[in-house]
């Protein structure tokens, strides 16, 4: 299992929660962003078993490593996952500072298990950290710029940027030539009679049926072209009752020039190589000054501060003018008592539902003490001793007899240890949102196991965007992308896929170090009625019907095994057989088997790790 590429996916999804990964900018406009290369970097790092200390250093300071590779720069996307406010009328500095604050808080809670966010406004009330120390950490993160990194063959990247600037130039010339502004297009659109509308190409007529703010850039461009063409007809033929604005000859020349340019543009666009890009962090050559911000207010500067780490923790190895790399190295220094404990505690949490320290992001005085302190210490020291070998730690935990216990409830324990903190048995855990979908994909046999790549658009119910400021078009993926793992579903921050949210997927606003597991009627409605899940139930029905040489009982056994990895007990098989033959369901095989498949996909056991 550890060698499977899907191991990396599984570990990565948990990490992406902490990285607050999403495919859009958040706040009100919530425009799209391209940062999936970072997501793929995380998957790859786990699959390659990149030692955890390297994993941390590259994400926090990959750009500052000597001879930084493209991969190491991609890794800095960790802190580019902060939301971005594109609203009009904002003070850009305010939101830049908010992003830096989020980077400090995330660094503290993800790597150190500390609640330093408290010190943004005042000294920590419980733990030994001052507000000044907070802003000394802030100073490490205050010197970066947030560029976009174009990826791929350097030749291609160069070619792309050359073509891109030529395109921009040509577009600009074209625009001055015909002055086709969006206002003009809008006006033209408003004045179109049904008759002239009908004369337009079908594709353009279709675009006109979409609300103005719901069109994507291609559609807008197509409309602009249509407008230009019609405009030409107006001028040259003067057939729609508009007077010629200037001499026909001059206009014909202009038209000629425009046609040439449009051809050029089309050819340029056609040659544009497809180069993916991602968001990265880059250190500024000229550092910004950092101050204590009084009351956390970015306008009220207190004392000036230089980068430094809290005094309560071991000192930095290189105290003179430390950079982000020095901070990263300090975080994974074996003398740092927190990093390894916090990391192994989260591994434990993933396998048992609750960590040895329940407050996985608070190892401070207000956190809960570990249930098994010696075990935590031992696991942490093993982690460091083995060179931060992540796969080895997974193996260590899942081969333990504690992990391999049965999860059946033991009534005699209820009074002694109701929450099973001492692990006298295993815990039953509801699957994560993405895995709920994956389990159904696997059972249906439809899963596309591809790893990585741009995010995809599986089916989602209509009406999701009735509640966003900017209406979105969700172009449901057809073909293989429709059946990708749940973790590849495009994440709009203001309107995430409802099938994910309903099963407690985090909203990517801030770092989520531990998901909650709720159990709600909306989950029932999703599994029961969502067209996406229904499609997978039909897939499962189809799959068992296509199995040769099986009778009904054999098929029920097969379907049951595909979903629950065990054979049904007689009472269970009987219930499903009754459903299969129920005349109220259907007398036809396909719908009857779909009903059986739906029942299986809705079982508590189906979405639970036993």
């Amino acid at each position: 299992l550890l060698a499977s590429p899907h191991y990396g996916e599984r570990r990565a999804r948990r990490w992406l929660d902490m990285a607050r990964y999403a495919d859009s900018n958040g706040y009100s406009i919530d425009g799209p962003r391209s940062i999936w290369k970072y997501r793929d970097w995380v998957i790859d790092a786990f699959n390659k078993n990149l030692p955890f200390d390297r994993f941390v250093i590259e994400q926090l300071a990959g750009d500052l490593l000597p001879g930084a590779t493209v991969e190491q720069r991609v890794a800095t996307g960790f802190h580019r996952n902060t939301p971005l406010n594109q609203e009009g009328g904002i003070d850009v500095e305010q939101f830049r500072v908010e992003a830096v604050v989020d980077r400090v808080n995330t660094t503290a809670s993800v790597f150190l298990g500390l609640t330093l966010g408290c010190c943004q406004c005042h000294d920590h009330k419980f733990d030994p950290f001052s507000q000044r120390e907070y802003y000394r950490l802030f100073a490490f993160f205050n010197n970066s710029d947030d560029p976009t990194l174009e990826l791929g063959d350097p030749g291609l990247v160069g070619e792309r940027s050359r073509l891109q600037s030529e395109i921009t130039r040509t577009e600009k010339r074209l625009r001055t030539l015909d002055r086709a502004t969006s206002e003009k297009v809008e006006k033209w659109e408003g004045g179109l009679s049904p008759a002239s509308r009908a004369l337009l190409p079908a594709a353009v007529q279709h675009i006109l049926t979409i609300a103005i703010n719901g069109r994507d850039p291609q559609q807008e461009e197509a409309l602009l072209t249509a407008y230009r063409r019609t405009d030409e007809v107006h001028h040259v033929v003067a057939g729609i009752g508009q007077p010629l604005p200037f001499a026909a000859a001059a206009h014909a020349a202009a038209l000629d020039a425009r046609m040439t340019m449009e051809r050029q543009l089309a050819s340029l666009r056609g040659r544009l190589p497809d180069v993916p890009s991602t968001l990265v962090v880059n250190e500024r050559t000229k550092p910004r000054d950092s101050y204590v911000m009084l009351g956390g207010d970015f306008l009220r500067h207190g004392e000036s501060v230089s980068p430094g780490t809290p005094a309560a923790l071991p000192a930095l190895a290189s105290p003179a003018a430390p950079s982000r790399v020095d901070l990263a190295i300090w975080i994974v220094d074996a003398r740092n008592p927190l990093t390894a404990r916090v990391a192994v505690n989260r591994f434990w949490q993933d396998y048992f539902g609750i960590g040895l320290v329940e407050t996985d992001n608070d190892f401070g005085t207000r956190g809960t003490p570990p249930s098994h302190p010696e075990l935590l210490d031992w696991l942490a020291s093993e982690f460091v001793r083995t060179g931060w070998d992540v796969k080895r730690m997974q193996r260590l935990i899942v081969t333990s007899s504690t992990y391999r216990q049965s999860s059946h409830a033991r009534p005699e324990l209820a009074a002694v240890d109701a929450r099973n903190r001492l692990l006298a048995r295993q815990n039953r855990l509801r699957l994560d949102a993405e895995i709920v979908r994956d389990a159904a994909l696997v059972a249906s046999g439809l899963l596309n196991p591809g790893v990585g790549g741009p995010s995809v658009y599986p089916p989602q119910p209509a009406g999701v965007y009735a509640f966003t400021q900017v209406p979105r078009t969700w172009k449901t993926s057809n073909g293989p992308d429709r059946y990708r793992r749940g973790m590849y579903t495009y994440h709009w921050r203001t309107a995430p896929h409802p099938g994910l949210t309903v099963f407690d997927a985090p909203d990517a606003s801030t770092a989520c170090t531990r998901r909650s597991r709720s159990n709600t009627p909306l989950q029932a409605l999703t599994l029961l009625n969502d067209q996406g899940f229904y499609e997978l139930a039909r897939g499962l029905a189809e799959r068992v019907l296509n199995e040769q040489g099986l009778d009904d009982a054999g098929r029920i056994d097969r379907a049951f095994r595909l979903c629950l990895s065990r054979s049904p007990k007689p009472s269970e098989a009987e219930a499903l057989t009754r459903l299969l033959h129920d005349p109220e369901v259907s007398r036809d095989a396909r719908p009857a088997w779909t009903a059986v498949a739906r029942a299986l996909l809705n079982l508590d056991e189906f979405i639970t790790r036993e």
């Binding site: 419980f126 207000r366 009735a466 801030t510 709720s518 989950q523 969502d530 459903l579 809705n602």
Partner: protein
């Protein structure tokens, strides 16, 4: 409060099992588990007592998204009119920050008189402009607060602040805190419902009704006013009701067997969740079908069944509260009257007032005549107000303003026919009885029987609250 006569959840579940599922020993084991009340204890929305006696049971928050101009609606300022077109006195804007700073940086902004006529209304003598004739008619049933103040002046963070007490996304919203604190009486509907009308959704989206770090069972559930009110409410295409019921019965039976086998109370919770899902499926379509309302009621609101509107949503809000839903939030967009295009203080404001005024007043009137106003708190207002200075854009408008603005409250333990607070003579800052957003939040929780300093959730080492470390209950507006 009138509650539909639904048998208690457990009774229903047990009856189903015994009547329809004859599954022998497994059933007996399940029945005993359910009998012990574990399923009920595990239902996060079970009504719970608060910290003290509640004055309100439900909240309807009419969120006027974009920032309504108090100076055109409620805050009558003759001095501002007298100083029209004069530069704003320097001491007002010294060191202050505004949205769209660059437009103000070009030249000293000038004061802008309102073009709207104001009059006093009702026995309370409350000032309301001609824009809101219906609201003017209910002033004796409401408390108008003309001294609201907030901290942030961009839409998404300010909406987030009003809803969650923090400008940063990721905290639980008020509706989530409330249902976390006292659950919900509705057994076949979510406890926190969000409705939307206007040309587009509110800026900020999902995080505005998020449960943040609270369990997702407390997050707001968006309802649509037509078609399917809740996503995935209807069986998938190609499945009829009988077929759906049979699948549900099989699921219930198999889950019951598994429960008997493993003894995990989570399975009992899931069985209960499926029961409630089934009841939602049955009750929600009827809920949004307004055609059963009498003509007079429809006319009162200006509601037209089947045609989505703010009016329909107000009527729907009453129906939700009648069914025990704890927190209903209505968003109506397009109050952001900067004066760009037709989003201005003339035709733009007229339009949005026309869309909302009548239904807001109708809601209060309707709740009152049904005896629901005493237990329902109605809140009207946006994320901030607008500046006394005008903005130079295509037409007349005002900028975002956080130092003073107007909201109103009605019912649920709030004084009737009362005016609280006042702004200074230019309508620039709160001059009397300033009510900060955190104070409003503390007061809302208080009215629901919750102490805002004790309603906490431990997250990242800290006990978080809706009001952060602030908030004073606004005693003056309590009835």
């Amino acid at each position: 409060m009138t509650m539909p006569a639904t048998p208690p959840l457990l009774a229903l579940t047990r009856r189903h099992f015994f009547r329809e599922c004859g599954i022998g020993l497994g059933a007996a084991a399940l029945a005993s588990l359910l009998n012990e009340g574990r399923a009920a204890a595990a239902d996060p929305l079970t009504p719970k007592p608060g910290h003290h006696a509640a004055r309100a049971k439900s909240v309807i928050f009419l969120f006027m998204a974009g920032g309504p101009s108090q100076l055109e609606l409620f805050d009558y300022k003759p001095k501002l009119s007298a100083l029209h077109a004069q530069p704003v006195p320097a001491e007002f804007i010294q060191g202050k920050r505004f949205a769209f700073m660059d437009t103000f940086a070009k030249e000293v902004p000038k004061l802008l008189a309102t073009r709207r006529r104001f009059a006093r209304h009702g026995a309370s003598g409350s000032w309301v402009s001609e824009c809101l004739p219906h609201t003017a008619g209910i002033v004796d049933d409401i408390t108008v607060v003309r001294s609201m103040a907030t901290d942030v002046f961009n839409h998404a963070p300010a909406k987030c602040f009003t809803n969650t007490g923090s400008p940063q996304f990721g905290r639980p919203s008020m509706g989530a805190w409330v249902t976390y604190g006292i659950g919900s009486e509705a057994r076949d509907l979510p406890g926190f419902v969000v409705l939307q009308s206007g040309p587009r959704g509110p800026r900020g989206g999902n995080p505005l009704w998020s449960s943040g770090f609270l369990p997702t069972a407390y997050q707001g559930v968006p309802f649509r006013g037509v078609g399917e009110p809740i996503l995935n409410l209807r069986p998938p295409q190609g499945v009829d009701d009988a077929g759906q019921r049979r699948v549900l019965e099989a699921v219930r039976e198999l889950n019951g067997l598994r429960l008997a086998d493993t003894g995990d109370p989570e399975i009992a919770t899931r069985i209960a969740a499926y029961e409630m899902a089934y009841r939602m499926q049955t009750s929600a379509p009827g809920l949004i079908d307004l055609s059963g309302e009498d003509r007079k009621t429809l006319e009162l609101y200006g509601a037209e069944p089947g045609k989505p509107s703010f009016a329909n949503n107000c009527l729907l809000a009453r129906r939700l509260v009648e069914r025990g839903v704890r927190f209903v939030q209505l968003y109506h967009t397009d109050w952001d009257h900067h004066g760009s295009g037709d989003v201005n203080l003339t035709a733009g404001l007229d339009r949005v007032c026309r869309e909302t005024d009548r239904a807001c007043a109708a809601l209060v009137t309707d709740l009152k005549r049904r005896g629901l106003l005493d237990t329902t708190l109605v809140i009207w207002g946006g994320e901030f107000g607008r500046t006394p200075m005008g903005e130079v854009r295509d037409s007349v408008g005002r900028n975002h303003h956080i130092d003073t603005y107007t909201m109103w409250l009605a019912g649920g333990g709030v004084k009737r026919g009362y005016n609280l607070g006042a702004s200074d003579e230019l309508g620039y800052a709160a001059a009397e009885d300033r009510v900060h957003v955190h104070d409003l939040q503390a007061t809302v929780l208080f009215l629901l029987g919750l102490d805002h300093t004790r309603l906490t959730f431990k997250f990242q080492g800290r006990d978080f609250r809706l009001t952060d470390v602030h908030g004073e209950i606004v005693r003056k507006l309590l009835a």
